[in-house]
């Protein structure tokens, strides 16, 4: 299978047809939902929080963030803000009337929120796209650095981010982790089903200076 990020940039790849295909495939929905739950368990949230969803797409993860603790979302319901570069994906999120605020934005351009805004951040199957640089003005390193620096600043001290992504190879995995560490994060890579074709990679990021959460 060819990797979508090798074919086109995400705003072009996830056009209306691809977006709908992605969102209506029940197999993708199930995988997406289980990865969101896994990421949430790694965030260890215990009360309703303000969360940034990077690459929120059609809001599959967001619907889980908006659910209550009794519906299976730890600490929920959370309030979330979602970024996506694909207006087709956001269009589907609008049709579903998701509760989060949606931004047409490219995380590789930065995270335009004041310092300490978010309790946590989550990203499902998105940040490998940051390694694409489409123009001569852009480099993967520059995009990764703007994203992780912006994310680091926008999180509260003691906050966490969990990014599930599909690394193309070990070089890309290391490049992404190194960019996060350079931005100031404590970083760890977690692999579920390692070595199988269902392998899932989670980048778990912590912001130091942990305050005690009330």
């Amino acid at each position: 299978m060819s990797r979508p990020e090798d074919i086109l940039p995400p705003d072009l790849f996830y056009n209306d047809t691809e977006s709908r295909k992605y969102t209506t495939s029940s197999r993708i929905q199930t995988i997406q939902s289980s990865m969101t739950h896994r990421a949430l368990s790694l965030l260890s949230l215990t009360s309703p929080s303000l969360i940034l969803d990077i690459g929120c797409g059609s809001g599959l993860s967001g619907e889980i963030l908006s659910a209550s603790a009794s519906e299976g979302t730890p600490g929920g319901p959370h309030v979330w803000i979602g970024f996506d570069i694909s207006s087709s994906m956001l269009g589907i999120a609008l049709e579903k009337e998701v509760e989060g605020d949606l931004f047409l934005a490219d995380a590789g351009q930065g995270v335009p929120f004041r310092a300490g805004t978010f309790d946590a951040a989550i990203s499902i199957s998105a940040i490998q796209w940051l390694c694409n640089a489409e123009t001569s003005e852009e480099s993967p390193a520059g995009r990764l650095s703007r994203f992780f620096n912006g994310l680091y600043a926008s999180l509260r001290r003691g906050g966490r981010a969990v990014c599930q992504f599909y690394p193309k190879n070990d070089v890309q995995k290391k490049m992404i982790s190194a960019a996060a560490i350079k931005a100031g994060f404590g970083a760890g890579l977690l692999e579920d089903d390692e070595g199988t074709k269902n392998a899932k990679t989670y980048l778990v990021l912590t912001v130091g200076g942990g305050d005690v959460r009330g």
């Binding site: 303000l50 931004f103 930065g110």
Partner: protein, 136 residues
């Protein structure tokens, strides 16, 4: 976009990052809508100390909404608890804040940076923060 979000959002342009004028963004020609959502006492308590109250006051003024008190209400003013059944009832202050921050939304319009003048369009509640490459 909830007014809550506007209390955290800054201009995305690199050269504005260090300027205090890049926050808050200023709404222009906006159409507001109310989207009701469940009252969430714990979230409100969580977020209240993180608000930039002065920016919220400015925003309410710019949108022609009722003016807010000079200083942020205290977390303790959000609920009254009943000793009989240990329940909590949101106060009027809490209900007003919930309505303002979480239910009052910008549906259409633009957000303007006070530093560089860049205008971010909001359509169907979605803000467009994609920048041309030379501004990143």
């Amino acid at each position: 976009m909830k007014l809550l979000t506007l209390n955290f959002l800054t201009c995305a342009i690199k050269t504005c990052k260090s300027s205090p004028l890049s926050f808050p963004l200023h709404p222009r020609e906006v159409e507001l809508e109310i989207l009701e959502t469940d009252y969430n006492a714990v979230f409100l308590r969580n977020i209240l100390p993180r608000l930039e109250w002065e920016a919220l006051r400015v925003l309410a003024g710019e949108l022609g909404l009722p003016s807010l008190p000079e200083s942020s209400p205290d977390v303790s003013s959000l609920s009254t608890s009943s000793e009989e059944d240990d329940s909590e009832t949101p106060t009027q202050v809490a209900q007003d804040l919930h309505r303002l921050l979480l239910e009052t939304c910008i549906k259409e319009g633009k957000l303007v940076c006070g530093c560089c003048g860049h205008e971010y369009a909001v359509k169907e509640g979605v803000a467009n923060f994609l920048l041309p490459g030379h501004l990143v």
